[in-house]
Symmetry: C2
Subunit: 179 residues, 2 copies
């Protein structure tokens, strides 16, 4: 099997771990950390969990099914702002639990597809990016998880940018995604 | 208390969580993820855990004690390459357990210091950065944790850079710290 390094079991290993990683990072933390952003128009850790929930509901598994069904229409576009209405009035603990439940169901659905190597080569049409394969969709699911884990850590780190004083020159994360 | 946003209890909340966050992210993962780097001279998640262990042993608490003792000599310099000899022949599981134990002991030591606001303003001499305060040291400990959590996630994400195909344009983490 050759999909530019994609390996199904290794991908599932990450997908399975992300809810626990985010719970360990965030669960029970003071609002200082959970509601921090990197500036106007950027997301807090709380916003990120809402975004991941929306992805579990509308993106990864629906798009995998779309590809396997041989649909020639493009995927439905993904709403990147859904969490700002959907997360309203929910606690971070509720959001983390919802994400963990949805992810568990979705990994079970993914395993139940019993994907062959041929299936992983099957193609779908992304509304902006054009032709993509099922393996690329699943690799993107994994990288998307890790991207948001890194974002959560980076956003929290920046809360203490001033507080580190002279040390900030050694803490390169404080300069990632500036402005 | 005013130390550019530093708050002792909020800082301890992060310090307490980091071992579990890294275990959730990494424990039991295939070597593909654990031994990946971002290129020559960069660290794998495995290397990062060894580096964090060395920090627990030689950096944070020893430097806090150095400041509280009123030492006028600079801190001992920190060895950024220690993990390449100290981690040899140890499994990732062993390293994660060692880090968790050392961190537990160090947070207990930190709490036992019963630091006053005045203590947090006390100063030490960094060998390269000059005068720093105890609050800045503790804020740096927190940001250093989060920096390495983000690094671990970023390094693993890049394993699938090619595999994501056209989607890589949306996955901004794949372009952080390029080359």
């Amino acid at each position: 099997m050759k999909h530019d390094g994609f390996n199904f079991d290794e991908a599932v290993a990450i997908l399975n771990r992300t809810p626990a990683s985010l719970s360990a990072l965030l669960s029970g933390l003071p609002e200082t950390w959970v509601k921090a952003t990197e500036g106007e128009g950027t997301w807090s850790p709380y916003d990120v969990i809402g975004h991941l929930i929306h992805g579990e509901r509308t993106d990864w598994i629906p798009r995998a099914r779309h590809i396997l069904a041989g649909e020639t229409r493009p995927f439905a576009p993904f709403d990147r702002d859904a969490q700002f209405t959907e997360s309203q009035d929910k606690s971070l603990g509720e959001l983390l639990a919802t994400f963990a439940n949805l992810r568990r169901e979705n990994v079970a659905s993914l395993l139940a597809m019993n994907l062959s190597d041929e299936d992983l080569h099957r193609k779908g049409l992304h509304p902006d990016l054009g032709q993509v394969t099922l393996a690329q969709l699943l690799a993107t699911w994994v990288v998307h998880d890790l991207d948001h884990v890194a974002q959560v850590a980076r956003t929290m780190a920046k809360v203490y940018k001033q507080a580190t004083g002279p040390w900030n020159v050694y803490l390169s994360i404080l300069r990632d995604r500036q402005g």
